[in-house]
Structure formats: structure tokens, C-alpha cells
Amino acid sequence: DTAVSQTPKYLVTQMGNDKSIKCEQNLGHDTMYWYKQDSKKFLKIMFSYNNKELIINETVPNRFSPKSPDKAHLNLHINSLELGDSAVYFCASSQDEKGENSYEQYFGPGTRLTVT
């Protein structure tokens, strides 16, 4: 009965490879997010989708491409991986509606990406 799940939990890969991280939520939420947590624990939003539509797109290299096949899934594809992409990536979801800011976001367990 996991609310927000991510796969894989750990991902070790070499520079230049392409990889994907998958996220699924079974909470019936309309909005999903990707966050990056760096080695100093700093968390920053990358993308947000509402009903499969991109609504937040921070200054992220275009090697990162989110894909939302339906509102329960938000996958993150990363091309040409670089050392600096090593981080923990968190998926989250919320029951957001436009103009409402009181809905908390539910986070997945994270995916630790290590680029060597």
C-alpha cells in the first residue's frame, strides 16, 4: 500500500549513459514533482506535472526530460549523464488545485544516483 514509490532505489552508472527513474503514486493526486537533493542535503524542485501537463520547469539542463504517461506516473529520463548529476532524486505528489497552497506533498523514498 505504498503511497509514492520510485524505482530503482539505487542507480550506479557511468558518465555518458542514459538512464530513467520511474515514479508512481496511488493516492489519486493530480500533481507530481521531481526534486533533486545534493550532497549537502539541499533540496530543489526540478519539474512538476498537473494532469500530465508540465506546469513547473526550473532551470534544469535539457538532458533531463520528464514524462507523464498518466497522472499516476511521472518518470525522469536523463541523457548523457555527468558526474554532477550524482544526487538523490525524490518524486512527490499532492492534491494541488490551481491557487491552493495548503496541500502537503507526499514524497517517495528517493533514488540515489551515482555517476562514475
Binding site: K41, I45, S48, I55, S94, D96, G99, N101, E104
Partner: protein
């Protein structure tokens, strides 16, 4: 845009003593504020949230926070620390008015709480 500043990167307390984790916010309007906790190698869990209702907010595991507009603060407290409280704590503000009407969260840098026996 909104921002939060967590005043301490590390806090160390003894088990059974009070906990105070400090957070100041910067906002041009009445913000929504949250505290999240991250246990080692785990995801983030919401502790509590303030959304312009009562200024004293009670959360899970005995934590509470008080919104003080005059001091632009939203400090997290707990009367008596437990070993299981050792974790990273994040103060968070919603950036709603500046994110196209959607709820973009802005995280503080985090405070690592250590609890000693």
C-alpha cells in the same frame, strides 16, 4: 519569491531535553509554511503545516511550531527529545504566487538534529 533560512545547520540535545529548531521566512504575503523530517536514507515526511489558521500548529510525534508574523519566524519545538527524533529537518515555504498559481515548495538548507543518551 519566497525563501526560508534555517538558522542552525546542526543542533545537538540530550534525550529528554527540549528541542528548538529555528526558521525565519521571507515573504511578501501571508505564506504557507511546513516542516518536513528526513530520517537517514529515508524519504521526507510532513511534520506539520501552517496555512493562515491557528498560529500554533501541532504536528506528529509531539512537535509543534508557532507562526510569528512580527518576527517572520516559524520555529519548531518539542518538549522532550527522543532518540528516534535524530534526523534532518527542513523548513519549507510555498512559493504559490510566483509559480503560476501552483504549489512550488522552497526548502531551507536543513538542520541536522542529534540526540544523545
Amino acid at each position: 519569491a519566497q525563501s526560508v533560512t534555517q538558522l542552525d545547520s546542526h543542533v545537538s540535545v540530550s534525550e529528554g531535553t527540549p528541542v528548538l529548531l529555528r526558521c525565519n521566512y521571507s515573504s511578501s504575503y501571508s505564506p504557507s509554511l511546513f516542516w518536513y523530517v528526513q530520517h537517514p536514507n529515508k524519504g521526507l515526511q510532513l511534520l506539520l503545516k501552517y496555512t493562515s489558521a491557528a498560529t500554533l500548529v501541532k504536528g506528529i510525534n509531539g512537535f509543534e511550531a508557532e507562526f510569528k508574523k512580527s518576527e517572520t519566524s516559524f520555529h519548531l519545538t518539542k518538549p522532550s527529545a527522543h532518540m528516534s527524533d535524530a534526523a534532518e529537518y527542513f523548513c519549507v515555504v510555498s512559493d504559490l504566487p510566483f509559480s503560476g498559481g501552483y504549489n512550488k515548495l522552497i526548502f531551507g538548507a536543513g538542520t541536522r538534529l542529534a540526540v544523545h543518551p
